[in-house]
């Protein structure tokens, strides 16, 4: 049984078990922290850097989704510095891929777009990289558009941790990273894919979508994740 730690978040006294993360304790207490790669029911990887928080006594910013709470900790979830870095992180996601909201299947239902709106981003100040990325439409029911992928790895984790197929993984390093199916084969040729669609439903953007969706038609339903995780006892 984990011990209980008492700490302050934004000056508010809160308590949580020592095996809980700052993000979990904050959410239990109704304190919002923005996230993109994190989704309840899957492991946390701290990839998107949106949940960065300030902790007194530590000069660098820490991701709330992978940092555990500790006794006497003082956490700030909002500051000019945090807003600056969060905006920068989202702007970099936009600049790194090819995100054309107006013609995207997820327009209006996209977590990246929603985050940009929430952070008040109306311009991208960085030069667009405009990478050449392809579309894999070889699967009978689903399409993967790498242009819209933000490498959150939700698809990789849900396929591995929930479905147990581990069809998706990440290839390459740094800016050249890309999610692939099996050994970088066409999705439609994948011997491991069960066509369950969990990757599609957990993808925060229009990178994974149901074939035949027109602009703005792809809404994601991922409440199943919490349910499955609870049933399996994966959730604390």
């Amino acid at each position: 049984m984990s011990r209980v730690a008492t700490l302050k978040i934004n000056g508010q006294d809160v308590s949580g078990r020592e095996d809980e993360t700052i993000l979990e304790v904050a959410r239990e207490n109704g304190i919002p922290i923005p996230t993109l790669c994190q989704i309840e029911g899957l492991s946390n990887v701290g990839a998107c850097r949106l949940c960065l928080v300030e902790v007194t006594g530590i000069s660098k910013l820490l991701p709330a989704c992978t940092t555990r709470v500790a006794e006497g900790m003082e956490v700030r979830t909002e500051s000019d510095r945090l807003t600056h870095y969060r905006r920068m992180a989202v702007e970099m996601l936009f600049a790194e891929g090819n995100h054309i909201c107006s013609v995207c299947v997820s327009n209006g239902h996209c977590e990246l777009q929603g985050m940009a709106v929430a952070l008040g981003i109306d311009h991208i100040h960085l030069p667009y990289l405009a990478p050449r990325r392809g579309v894999d439409a070889s699967h009978e029911r689903f399409t993967f558009d790498a242009n819209r992928c933000i490498l959150c790895t939700r698809c990789v984790r849900v396929c591995d941790e929930i479905e147990g197929a581990h069809t998706w993984d990440v290839m390459g390093r740094g800016v050249g990273s890309v999610v692939i199916t099996d050994l970088n084969e066409r999705w439609g040729d994948s011997p491991t894919c069960t066509s369950c669609g969990k990757c599609v439903q957990t993808c925060p953007t229009g990178a994974l979508f149901i074939k035949g969706s027109a602009v703005g038609e792809m809404t994601k339903r991922n409440t199943f994740l919490t349910y499955i995780a609870q049933m399996r006892g994966n959730l604390k």
């Binding site: 013609v103 327009n107 074939k211």
Partner: protein, 470 residues
């Protein structure tokens, strides 16, 4: 000494263009060209995209006529799916297209061309715009704004969005029409009809003042092309392509979309980014044809709605060659649009919930043809086994008119421009003939008479002989 007059940019049109007029030693017009000066690249950058995205992608070509591209693109996608879309969906798309045509025609007539028609071709350029109209004839300006608003409102009621709606999808539309929205659309139609009739009465009255222009704009004899319904009536959404000669004799009829590749050729000229389509059997450039309101009314048996047919009777007394009468044809079509929307909203299945057909792609090639405000619009897509676009070719309405516009510029320049005594009004007439076609060269309206017109007479050695700025 030969000279070149450059009109750059051409104002009160949609998109960017310039005109060059070449004078000979005697200062007479030797040649003239209409240049489209921008390239958009849509056909290229859609390669590799899933075809279900095409309607939304293609509608982004234009802010004035997004609906036209949406419709033609969705029809090409229907052809890829090889489905017959539900009748209610076809009629809803049809209404959307008619509302689009009505608002676009209102823009062309009231905002872009009425300044020439009301204030005169030689009026002060500073006044020759919508604001000049608002001062001189406020009701006319209000009518223009109101008509455009009505068209846009109908589009919004149907599709949820005035510009770039995502409502039209491959296989139909993604939401049925509600009774409430149908009634809201029905409520505005009679006001629209009243406005158009009032405008026509005024326009008929001033036609006499423009006899010289009507004549000058009619020197060009071309074929005419457009869609017609099964009974030869005016049809904007479906139907088959009909081509008539300069004397309105039908020379090709009942052409299906897939026949158009063998009927229409596309030439490329070095002076313009716009292709020059031509009627293949007559070759290039003899196969020059016109599309749009004038062409449509020249090829149909009737409009199929009572008020528009009445006006068609008068229209047939006018010189059918003259591009000047694009204006009158445009007004008749607005009338037709409102009447036809009324008819369609009273069809029994219009509120049907069944508005979308679902299928996997069954064809590798699909062609969609519909009428845009400016004329026949063709989208042609080829996809791979996965449904990704391999090749896209668009023949846009303004493109069909390219050769006719180019030659009209020459003929009107020859009639009005004298190098020795360059006047702004002469050049405005050259622009005015372009405006009769209401070219939509790229995207949205960039100017309402406010853009600078810079005309230079340049000698072969590069020295500026004469200059007019506005």
């Amino acid at each position: 000494m030969t000279q070149t007059i450059l009109i750059d940019p051409v104002t009160r049109i949609e998109g960017h263009a310039k005109i060059t007029i070449h004078l000979n030693d005697a200062g007479e017009v030797e040649d003239a060209h209409f240049h489209v000066t921008q390239v958009r690249g849509f056909e290229k950058f859609v390669e590799g995209r899933p075809f279900h995205e095409m309607p939304a992608l293609m509608s982004r070509i234009c802010g004035i006529c997004p609906v036209s591209h949406l419709i033609a693109s969705a029809k090409a996608c229907d052809a890829l799916l090889a489905v017959s879309i539900p009748p209610a969906a076809a009629n809803l798309r049809r209404i959307l297209n008619l509302a689009q045509i009505a608002q676009s025609h209102a823009l062309s007539f009231f905002y872009l061309s009425a300044p020439d028609l009301l204030l005169g071709m030689d009026a002060d350029p500073a006044q020759r715009n919508l604001f000049g109209i608002a001062q001189t004839a406020p009701q006319l300006a209000r009518d223009g704004v109101r008509l455009r608003q009505m068209g846009q409102q109908i589009i919004e009621l149907l599709s949820g969005k005035r510009i770039h709606p995502g409502w039209v999808v491959p296989g139909g539309v993604n939401q049925a029409l509600t009774e409430e929205k149908r009634d809201a659309i029905l409520a505005v139609l009679s006001e629209g009809i009243g406005i158009v009739q009032r405008t026509m009465l005024w326009f008929r009255g001033i036609l006499k003042q423009y006899e010289s222009e009507i004549q000058a704009f009619s020197a060009l004899h071309t074929l005419f092309m457009g869609l017609v319904g099964p009974d030869g009536t005016l049809e904007m959404y479906d139907g088959r392509v009909r081509i008539a000669d300069a004397n309105k004799y039908i020379i090709a009829d009942g052409l299906a979309p897939e026949d158009l590749n063998t009927t229409i050729g596309e030439a490329v000229e070095p002076w313009s980014y716009l292709k020059s389509p031509y009627y293949k059997p007559l070759g290039y450039p003899s196969g020059m044809y016109r599309v749009g309101p004038l062409a449509r009314l020249n090829i149909v048996r009737s409009c199929g709605t009572p008020h528009a047919d009445e006006e068609l009777g008068f229209f047939r007394t006018l010189d059918h060659h003259s591009s000047f009468h694009y204006h009158y044809a445009r007004l008749i079509e607005i009338l037709y649009c409102f009447e036809k929307i009324n008819q369609l909203l009273h069809t029994p299945t219009i509120l049907s919930e069944h508005v979308r057909a679902f299928a996997a792609p069954n064809n590798h090639e699909g062609i969609g043809v519909s009428e845009a405000p400016r004329g026949t619009l063709m989208h042609h897509y080829i996809i791979d086994d996965d449904g990704l676009i391999v090749r896209a070719n668009l023949v846009i309405a303004t493109g069909h008119n390219n050769m006719a516009m180019d030659r009209s510029v020459y003929q009107v320049a020859r009639r009005y421009v004298r190098g020795a005594e360059l006047q702004e009004g002469m050049l405005n007439r050259v622009e005015a003939v372009i405006r009769t076609f209401d070219p939509c060269l790229s995207c949205s309206t960039h100017a309402v008479g406010q853009m600078p017109l810079h005309v230079q007479l340049v000698a072969p050695d590069g020295s500026v002989v004469d200059e007019i700025k506005r």
